[in-house]
Symmetry: C2
Subunit: 163 residues, 2 copies
């Protein structure tokens, strides 16, 4: 369960993400993306893009698969799981993956393939490394007296649940 999967297993699971992408895109659910979360040899979560059909810009395949896996496993951490995605995760999905802390990520297409098909992944990767004041969406840090008070409260909270 803790070992790294062989090439055949990886391709088998990636093909499942492509099938999820294809089936749901053809149904009009959203963009051509699929993802699954696997624990041992069992699929514990699956997702496909549902942005346009649910009016949820965060409903990317990987986010949906992580939410599904966490619901099924009743946890917010996927330590012993592997994420398979039909395409390289966008920054939002990569962030979601990091917060859920799986042990590995495999993907088939790249961010460049996604950009070629009209998706902003590569653009967001370029924006995220810019200083905030140079981003194409106006972004400003506005500190003021007391703005860190919630962090002070958090650090002094005895029963806090860390994540």
């Amino acid at each position: 369960m803790s070992s790294i999967p062989d090439a055949q297993t990886i391709q088998k699971f990636l093909n499942i993400t492509l099938d999820l992408a294809e089936k749901n895109m053809l149904k009009g659910k959203g963009g051509p993306f699929g993802a699954i979360v696997v624990q041992g040899d069992k699929i514990v979560g699956e997702g496909f893009n549902q942005v346009t059909s649910t009016n949820d810009p965060t409903a990317h395949a990987e986010v949906q698969a992580i939410r599904d896996a966490c619901r099924n496993l009743k946890t917010f951490q996927l330590d012993d799981c592997i994420v398979y995605a039909s395409c390289e995760p966008c920054p939002m999905c990569l962030g979601a993956i990091y917060w859920s802390r799986p042990k590995a990520i495999y993907f088939a297409s790249t961010r460049q393939d996604a950009a070629d098909a009209g998706f902003d992944d590569d653009f967001i990767y370029k924006e995220i490394v810019l200083p905030v004041e140079k981003r194409s969406i106006l972004t400003r840090n506005v500190p003021f007296d007391g703005h860190k008070r919630v962090f002070e409260l958090w650090k002094s909270k005895q029963d806090r649940v860390e994540y």
Copy 2:
């Protein structure tokens, strides 16, 4: 409505995000983060961290606020809206914001403040710019024959809804 808010307005809305953060952290909902989406002078979406109380690692304040605003406005795009957040958005939330395309983002605390309080934001910012093979979570691109087929299908789909 298309103008940039003045300093007093920005601080007023940022204080609302801090209040959301504080109230819900004290209730045990999750970490000390709040966010709102504002259209004109009206709050159209709000969110606070609910990771640990809902077992959803993607339930960050900004993601929740965006989903709430999109539900309320029945759209997956927030073009004429502004996102206010108690803290600099993590890469996941920044990605979510970019996909929802608001006109501006204001935040009070920084990613360093978050790191000082024990949150991984800064770590994920550092990971995201590394080549995939150098990341601390094992990440591999595994292309194979036909892995781009869903993008080809998407490009030929006459009734696709772009996002």
